[in-house]
C-alpha cells in the first residue's frame, strides 16, 4: 500500500504528512508514505485543492486535513 501526500510544502501539507505517518504507525501496517510536491504530478490526479491524500492512486481527501484516526480507517 502507498500513501501520497500532495502539497507544495506549506504547513498544512506538512501536517497531513505527519498525520499519515502517525496513522501508519498506529495501524502497524507496512505502508509507504511519500510527499508529492511537484505541481504537475499533483494536477495529474485532478486535484485542485491541497493538501490532498491519495491511497493507492485514489484521492481520499483534498483541500482539507484529515486526522490520523480517519486515515487509519482508510488503510484498514
Amino acid at each position: 500500500m502507498k500513501i501520497e501526500v500532495l502539497g507544495m510544502g506549506c504547513a498544512s501539507c506538512n501536517k497531513l504528512y505527519q498525520n499519515a505517518l502517525e496513522a501508519v504507525r498506529q495501524s502497524g501496517k507496512e505502508v509507504q508514505v511519500v510527499k508529492v510536491e511537484d505541481i504537475q504530478k499533483i494536477m495529474s490526479y485532478g486535484v485542485l485543492s491541497t493538501p490532498a491524500l491519495v491511497i493507492d492512486g485514489v484521492v481520499k481527501a483534498a483541500g482539507k486535513l484529515p486526522k490520523a484516526e480517519e486515515i487509519k480507517e482508510w488503510i484498514k
Partner: protein, 128 residues
C-alpha cells in the same frame, strides 16, 4: 506552468455546462471571466461527470457551488447533483433573455450579462 500554491481556500467553485450550443459556450466564457475577476474558482464539470476522485474531493472542500447552465436542460446542476453535491447558486443563460442556437460567434455583451448577473447574486449572498 501553474506554480501557484493550491492551498488557498476555494470557497466558491464555479462550474459551467460548456455545452455545444451558443448558451453553453457563453456559460463557459462567463465562468472564466468570473474566475478572472476573483469571484470564485473555475472548476472542471467534466471531472465531476467522470467521477475523477481528485476533482470530487476537491469539490467537497468548496463552500458554495455555482452552476452555470446554458439552457433548461441544466446539465451543470444535474451533473453536480448526480455526484451528490448541493448546488447553492445556479442559473440558466436562456433565463437572461439570450436565445439558444448553434451560432458559436458569441456576443461579448451576452457573456457580460451572465457575469454581471452572477457576480451580483454572489455578492448579495456574501452580504446576507
Amino acid at each position: 506552468m501553474n506554480d501557484r500554491c493550491l492551498c488557498e481556500q476555494n470557497e466558491i467553485l464555479i462550474f459551467a455546462c460548456a455545452g455545444s450550443a451558443n448558451v453553453g459556450q457563453i456559460a463557459n466564457q462567463a465562468a472564466i471571466q468570473l474566475a478572472q475577476h476573483g469571484v470564485g474558482r473555475y472548476f472542471c464539470l467534466a471531472g465531476i461527470g467522470g467521477h475523477v476522485s481528485g476533482m470530487i474531493e476537491s469539490t467537497r472542500a468548496g463552500k458554495l457551488l455555482v452552476g452555470i447552465n446554458g439552457c433548461s436542460v441544466a446539465c451543470a446542476t444535474k451533473t453536480l447533483e448526480h455526484a451528490g453535491f448541493l448546488v447553492g447558486e445556479h442559473i440558466q443563460v436562456t433565463d437572461l433573455g439570450i436565445e439558444k442556437n448553434h451560432d458559436l460567434h458569441l456576443n461579448p455583451s451576452d457573456v457580460g450579462k451572465v457575469v454581471h448577473h452572477l457576480a451580483s447574486r454572489i455578492s448579495k449572498r456574501k452580504e446576507g
